[in-house]
Amino acid sequence: MPSTHAPVELLAALGRLREQVEQTRLDLKTPEVEAHQRSRSRILDQLDDYVLPRLVQLDAPMLAVVGGSTGAGKSTLVNTLVGETVTESGVLRPTTRSPVLIHHPDDAEWFGPDRLLPDLPREGTHGLRTVARTGVPAGLALLDAPDIDSIDDRNRALSRQLLEAADLWLFVTTAARYADSVPWEFLTSAVERDASVAVVLDRTVPEAVEEVRRHLARMMTSRGMSDSPLFTLPESTIDPDGLLPADAVHAIKRWLHELAQHEGARETVVRRTLDGAVRQVVFESTDLGRAIDAQLEAASLLHQEADTTYESAERGLSTSFADGSLMSGHVAARWQDFVGTGAAVSAEDDRRGHQRARTLGVADALTSAITATFIERTRTAAEQTAMAWYGTRFGRAQLDLHPGLDRASAGVEADAETTVRDWFEGVQELVRERGSDRRMTTNYLALGVHGLAVSLAVAVVTRDAPGSERGDIARRLVASVFGDDGAAALVSTVADDLESRIRPVFASERRRYLDLVESPESIALRQASLIEMARRADNARHVDHLDREGAS
């Protein structure tokens, strides 16, 4: 008694593998990503439509799918094999749109929508029709599939799905077709996964039968199909019911009946296809895992471009907020007004108004220069990132998908303004707070909170510019109230505060890019677990194989 219980280990391993494959994202448009996406859905289909259900119910009847080119005579063959018309045939191409499954009445329980191809509709033009006929032997079901090469792509997809759910392929071709590339693509993929295939050469004029048959047999041998049976159906007259003469299909019929009745032979065919499919799934998953390298590389590149651009923008901004470069042009002029005219050192009441105006002038000029530089940096960074992304195919695809990434976000100006304003308010608050016990000193009174805050701000933006006359004056002004150490402490506090306020704005600008692309770390993690699960499934496959060898 051959073991027909479900191999639990293998099932569990494949289930986990399936989960990993399903979670695989292939978002980036790397050169071969379409092929990998197809491979991903093929693995899932193969598991859902064939491998997993077959593993759960190893004793289900054998499913033989009759597939092939449009116009090859699949339907006529099926009708003749069953002995009555169960599926339509005709001159218009493609003919069979809705697949028909014919099984023995005793096998009905196996072919309910819950067991066979659960996500395939049972109604409509492409729905699966199931009929019970005694013309087919018990233990075997025939499925008349749509063509593999017609212009109707629903047909082609459905046909592929059905063929991949089959235990046995009955592949029909003709004298005009047997060297076509599309059918051979199917056959080659069947050979690759070790599916059991029989080829039927149909519709061949009698005088050409021998030559074509020999040529086809040679093609099959050279492509690794030397054990597959090859049946020939000469072009013959069709009776009024659309059937071929019974003796034309005699050989095929007898072969199918033998397979159905001889449990050992059936088991061998089913097992061979199933093992092949499992192996194919495992291999293809491993390949898919390796193919993620391209995604990984692309994601790293994109992340890296965004990271380096924004990091250097942030660094550049920090530098220009320290090296005194802001103290030029208008800002310098206003500062000159403030210190040069004595506004900074005059405490006379009647000149208060004047002093205040000059103080505000510097504050305005300085904060708007900081804001403008800040905004410019975010804009440049966005443009540079976009330009770098645009240089790659996958980067360009992301940019096309998400318009507006070639410039800074719309809210960045307002963000920058608020950030800088809040910072300067913070500076004033700090001066007020630290200066609470010095409020009555002459210098404090002379400069006022605003004057001190402005001086402190100037000291901050010139802190890394030794020898800067203006910075020196500003530092001395701050030190005149807080002392040298106090001034230095204030400068570093305020500088740190500015940086910590800028950081989140840059971070959110950078995130606009990073969020579009899964992080390389997470891709690498999922790649590793996919490959690991494929490896475990492969182990389980070997163990299962050994178990069976031992049992038989």
């Binding site: 116009g71 090469d149 082609r156 005009a176 077709r177 076509d180 042009g329 310098a332 443009e383």
Partner: protein, 543 residues
């Protein structure tokens, strides 16, 4: 295009030539901007089209293409009335292209061009032709192409290469394979724009029962229509039995006589390729760089470059230089106590901008980088307008991507502007006069003091003028004259400040304008000119 290697140089003038020239111009202009794959495909057409236009227009190249087993070779034999093409049951049969040329000389040249070797060519002399007038195939070059769907990949490649050269493509379908995706999706449907240089033939019509033929033909018609080739004729023939072959011959003969297939085919291909380029490049109209935009960016760059503060410094240097020489000397000594970097310069008679800049902004350059960036960016954005990404990126490439260099250029231009700030000579003369007056003042006081107050012996006491002591008169006179001169100097220094400032402003603006023109405006204009050249070329190609 003055491109010396243009494949269109020898092409006779015609509408197709004009269109190709337009496409060529567009490709040339869009190089480096638009996706090179699209441009390469278009370039390929320009080359091939140019070559075709230079060759016999008396000939029409007709290609028979189709699946293996559809009977291309049988049809070729039927049309040529010869048994030259091998026909067999093994698939695929035809591995190389066979050609048959009817009629006038020049056919060999064309076959040479498309790469059919002499051993695969046959020619038919018109005098031997037993066809009637309306089926005369004079001027036909018939190609029997390899299949597109067999396992032999070399066949597909050869077929795809040759189908491009054909002026008219006859797709040969058969009852078994007429609905194959391979032919419709890969070949016939993409040819929708060439509907009028395409024929579809349903061969082996004898294989279909007589009463089913119309139905089958209708079905082929439906598939062809669904592909968008409603203009394409669909004929039913049987190459082996001869049904419909005469009709096909008549259709071919009609096209050959019209001699339009080559140009029609080329024109529709130009439309396709130019359409692709237009899709990628965009064809919206651009306003170009307006004078207002150019002026705006120039003045903003000037502002960013600190022209204002330099001009101010120039003015005040001149003013102070004059005041320093024309003020009543004692008041100068008081003023000079205050340290002022700009004032220090005022004691020199000549200064240049670098010194002024150093005095005005000692810690950094005068150029405000962020303002430069802003000015350039808004100019570039304005100029880009609604242009598609390839072009707006190209514009950014020459502007915002170079803003650091442009800033450096501005810096150099401003500091190298020769601002000869010269204190006028008259101020120095006034200076001498002022000192003379001071001397006269002191002498007057001394004279008065020594002569009248001390009444020292030996020194003649000053006389009296209008009742006032002469020494005192001299001192007061000198004082009044000195102060008056100082007042005149003050007024003159203001006037000089204004005029020198204006002069400096003109010089600096000119320097900034040169940088703006060469580094910002001209590159953008060049880029927009390229865009317009591309757009015009596409316009000509798509006319």
């Amino acid at each position: 295009m003055t491109d010396s290697t243009s494949p269109l140089d020898g092409a006779p003038p015609s509408e197709a030539t004009t269109r190709l020239r337009g496409l060529e111009q567009a490709i040339h202009a869009a190089r480096g901007r638009v996706d090179h794959e699209i441009l390469d495909a278009a370039d390929d057409l320009v080359r091939r089209g140019g070559e075709r236009l230079q060759r016999s227009s008396e000939h029409t190249i007709v290609a028979l293409a189709g699946a293996t087993g559809s009977g291309k070779s049988s049809l070729f034999n039927a049309l040529a009335d010869l048994e030259i093409a091998g026909v067999g049951v093994r698939r695929p049969t035809t591995s190389w292209t066979l050609a048959c040329a009817w009629g006038p000389a020049g056919g060999d040249e064309i076959l040479e061009w498309i790469g059919v070797p002499p051993r695969h060519r046959v020619s038919r002399m018109s005098m031997l032709d037993r066809s009637t007038d309306d089926t005369k195939l004079e001027g036909l070059i018939l190609l029997d192409l390899p299949d597109h769907d067999s396992t032999e990949v070399a066949h597909h490649l050869e077929m795809e290469r040759l189908v491009k050269y054909a002026d008219l493509v006859v797709w040969v379908l058969d009852p078994q394979k007429y609905a194959d995706a391979a032919i419709h999706e890969r070949y016939i449907r993409p040819m929708a724009t060439h509907a009028d240089t395409t024929l579809v033939v349903l061969n082996q019509i004898d294989r279909i029962a007589y009463d089913m033929r119309d139905m089958a033909l209708d079905d082929v018609r439906r598939l062809v229509d669904e592909g968008g080739l409603t203009q394409t004729s669909v004929l039913a023939v049987s190459a082996t039995r001869g049904d419909g072959v005469d009709e096909l011959k008549r259709e071919l003969a009609r096209r050959i006589r019209a001699k339009e297939s080559a140009r029609t085919r080329l024109t529709s291909e130009i439309t396709t390729r130019a359409g692709e380029v237009a899709q990628a490049s965009g064809t919206t109209k651009t306003d170009g760089v307006t004078d207002a935009a150019a002026e705006n960016v120039t003045s903003r760059l000037g502002e960013a470059a600190g022209v204002g503060s330099v001009v101010e410094a120039v003015g005040s240097t001149v003013r102070r230089g004059i005041r320093k020489r024309t003020d009543w000397p004692p008041t100068r000594w008081v003023r000079l106590r205050k340290p002022d970097p700009v004032m220090r310069l005022a004691s020199q008679t000549e200064v240049d901008a670098t010194q002024l800049v150093a005095a005005a902004a000692p810690s950094a350059g005068i150029v405000q980088r962020s303002a430069v960036d802003q000015a350039i960016r808004s100019f570039a954005d304005d100029a880009s307008g609604d242009l598609k990404t390839p072009w707006s990126l190209a514009i950014r490439d020459v502007t915002t991507a170079r803003s650091a260099a442009i800033g450096d250029g501005l810096d150099a231009a401003v500091s190298e502007t020769p601002l000869r700030v010269r204190v006028p000579v008259w101020a120095s003369i006034v200076n001498v006069v002022q000192y003379l007056l001071l001397v006269a003042f002191v002498a007057g006081i001394v004279w008065w003091w020594v002569g009248s107050v001390l009444e020292t012996d030996g020194i003649p006491a000053p006389g009296v003028i209008f009742g006032v002591d002469q020494g005192l008169v001299l001192a007061l006179g000198a004082l009044v004259a000195g102060l008056l001169l100082a007042l005149i100097g003050l007024v003159a220094s203001r006037m000089a400040e204004r005029s020198k400032a204006a002069e400096a402003r003109d010089l600096l603006n000119e320097s900034v304008a040169t940088v703006a023109r060469n580094e910002v405006i001209a590159p953008v204009k060049d880029e927009l000119e390229r865009y317009n050249a591309c757009r015009d070329g596409l316009h000509a190609a798509l006319r």
